[in-house]
Amino acid sequence: MIKTSHRTPTLLLAALGVLSIGVLVIDFWPFLQNGLAGQVMFTPDETDFDQILFHYSTLPRLAMAFLCGAGLALAGAAIQTVLRNPLASPTTLGVGAGVEFALTIFVLVAPASLALFQEAFALAGGMIALGAVYLIAAKRGNATLWLILAGMIINLLLQSGTQILLLFNEQYLQSIFMWGAGDLAQNGWEATQFVLPRIVIGMAAVLLLSRPLDLLALGDDTASSLGAKVTVLRLLILGFAVFITASVISAAGMIGFIGLAVPAALRIAGLTRSRDLMIYSVLTGGFTLLVIDFIVRQFNGLGGDILPTGAATALFGAPFIILILRKAKIMPGSQSEDQHSDQEITSKTGLSILLTALLAIGLVFSLFVSLDGTGFAVLGWTVNWNDNSFDIITGRAERTFAAMICGAALAVSGTLIQRVGRNPLASPEITGVSSATALAIILALTMFGFAQRADLMIIGAAGGIISLIVLLALCRKFTHAPHYMLLNGLALTAILGAIVRIVLTRSGTQTSMLMSWLAGTTYFTNMDEVMIVAGVTTVLLIVAIALRRPLEMASLGTDQSVSLGLGITTFQFAMMFLAAILAAAATLLVGPLSFVGLMAPHLARVAGYRLAGGHLLGSVLIGVNVMMVAEWLARNLLYPAQLPTGLIAALIGTSYFLLLAVRKR
């Protein structure tokens, strides 16, 4: 069995190797014809443009592609083995986002004299992100799923952080953005010289430690009883994996999914011993990125535009994840039943009244009080009441109202998705609905020149619904296993995110405006739109509440709902449809990244809103409150500068989940 199982990976590796040789031959072809191959590699003729271009651009690019691919795949293999999680990788666990965030801060903030510490800084960023993810996920029932979810949350948090920094430093926007999308283009050998020793050191260390890695695969208890120092080993290997990732990202930017897809594919192909897995990962990863980069380069020739390799890799890699999820029974449905605590059933009327009161007080506060850089400024008391201040109030009211409506729409959308999907962690943001909406809107805006906001809203909604249908189609066989939906959603989000990044690098002058919309600013809204969204939200909320009985029954699962006479498939579809419309409407106002759709229903559930109707109302109240606070903070935190509301809400949301995670331990 073990003998035969090596055949598939070997074949795979051989095929990729042949392809890579093909790539090399094609690249070298013009010089091979004249017998100049050796010359162009080592001592290029400085008078021949082709030779210089090849020697200082193509050749280092080839080397970089191989090195980065090999390094990331090895890092992924190591992380997967250490954490015993087939879906772990530098990108999914937030390491990449951590390094990116740290480097962005460093580039923007640190004085030049500290340049020496850049690497240490990046490494620390990656390690802290990974540590946070691990902290959240450790000691949970379904650790595999939690690890990925925690990674997703940390990823979003750090990416929002990076975006805030970028918004305030627009002059660097384009270049940092390109780098963030993973650019392998080279203009010399410096980057290769930078990466080569680091990756070699990292690889050597990880490979040396690979024998004890097999012990780790047996589980902590067994490993320590066999004499391995589990914690030290784990930290060492993770440290080196992060080191490799940080080096690659410093040199070439975010290149996602190689670190996830390559080792996962090799494992499915039959490699189980960690040493074999790693050696194969190095070569397979290198060859894969070499080939992908070659394909990407062919496209670059066409329009003169640059398609970043990292984003393209996500395009190749994420569908692959979906494939893996379908092929492999990665996670047994071990839904640990940890909800035995006898919750008290209490009426939530008091809490609802309190929340409503808070909302009213907060609204008044938000409209009349602001920070003006020196302290609180109360409008209407300090300033004489005149037309001017009336304008200010209506302006504020418009934005506050927009934020609140979005909070409500996302809360309803999230509640519906969580209830119908029977998954307390699903939400429009995580299932890809929001990203699809954003992508549809961006495409319509930049490629096809739609400018009417009403058109955009419809197009966005259509995009969201299509992505939801795709997701449901992908998951139809796994209706009983909610985590498949999440992981497929994650892959979809990654694909859509990659396309968004690619489109954004090409959208030129609109980039800044789109970026701030993506970050969730309410600055561009107008009252008419807000009223439309408010109307849609109200109607759909009423529909959802009217349907609370079947909505409640959906929590019994497909089989039992049908036994009780509910045509669940149609019902689920209809509810998801509602959720997509709501998410699209909200996305148009505050962008795709706000986390309210995840947080509000979750908070409402924790607060004790059990039944569907109450859950809907409770999460609307919470969502509206959160968005109102976020909007006030966004306006006033860095007055006179304006922060995007969506980002602030995302920060609030992720902090909440971090707190929750730490407290539950």
């Binding site: 039943e337 909800q339 035995h340 605590s341 006898d342 919750q343 059933i345 029977r422 009217a546 349907l547 009985r549 079947p550 409640e552 029954m553 929590s555 019994l556 699962g557 089989d559 039992q560 049908v562 036994s563 009780l564 006479g565 509910l566 045509g567 559930r605 059990r610 039944l611």
Partner: protein
């Protein structure tokens, strides 16, 4: 009530396995039918076919002389109540709220629950002894208590046919008897038809009227209860050395493994 003719069922996938082969049986109305057999013999598969959870099959299944798939979803739910082996336990519902779902087939998404509905719910909870914890969360109950809550929901559903997949697997002996006795009484009082997958041979012998035994997906024996409790029959069904002894001064039998 249920009439099956030459029913076959194959599993999904590239190499479909025949799970049920040429089953022909007629479950009588107003009586307690038990399906028995070794693990993996196809008992639950057969029950799921009756409950329309498994669809693809050859042969014909009729309910009330109508092809099974011709019933609408609501209509079918009013006629047939089904309790799966491992029902999904919603984490947030109280016992009474769960039992109340039994009325859904009759009231739908918008219909108001009337006094008679509430009476039915109360009665169902009374009969299964779950009234005591009607305001506790189902998820906080023990396995046996949950099983009684599910049965209570099925009773509130008020359907003339009840399909039960190992309804007593988590119950203590007293409650096993109570539940089976309850079901047996209902069959007399309201002419309920019960089809249940059961494991305990003695309980089958005690309560069932009609018995269908499966072995490796095929009918291996079917008949009445008094013909069931015999050495030869049981040994043939379970391929194990089982003996049956008569209980003195009653016409009951008890089995034991030799």
């Amino acid at each position: 009530m249920f009439d099956l003719k030459n029913v076959c069922f194959k599993s999904d996938g590239k190499n479909p396995k025949t799970l049920l082969d040429d089953i022909t049986v007629s479950f009588p109305t107003g009586s307690f039918s038990a399906i028995v057999g070794h693990n993996g013999s196809g008992k639950s598969t057969l029950l799921k076919l009756l409950a329309r959870k498994n669809k693809a099959h050859s042969g014909s299944i009729e309910l009330d002389t109508q092809v099974l798939s011709n019933h609408g979803t609501r209509d079918f739910a009013r006629k047939v109540a089904y309790l799966p082996q491992n029902p999904v336990v919603p984490p947030h519902l109280s016992v009474r709220e769960l039992v109340a779902f039994g009325r859904y087939p009759w009231r739908g998404a918008f219909g108001r629950y009337r006094a008679e509905d509430h009476a039915k719910i109360d009665q169902a909870m009374e009969m299964t002894h779950v009234t005591g914890f009607s305001d506790r969360l189902v998820a906080s109950l023990s396995g046996g208590e949950r099983q009684r809550v599910w049965l209570s929901m099925l009773l509130a559903q008020d359907a003339p046919v009840m399909l039960l997949d190992e309804p007593t697997s988590a119950l203590d002996v007293g409650h096993q008897r109570d539940i089976l006795q309850l079901v047996a009484n209902l069959k007399d009082q309201i002419n309920l038809t019960v089809i249940a997958v059961l494991h305990d041979i003695d309980m089958v012998g005690r309560f069932a009227d009609h018995i269908l035994a499966l072995r490796a997906g095929r009918t291996c024996w079917q008949g009445a209860a008094q013909d069931f409790m015999h050495n030869a029959v049981l040994r043939d069904i379970f391929q194990t050395e089982i003996n049956v002894i008569a209980v003195p001064e009653s016409n009951r039998f008890v089995s034991y493994v030799a």
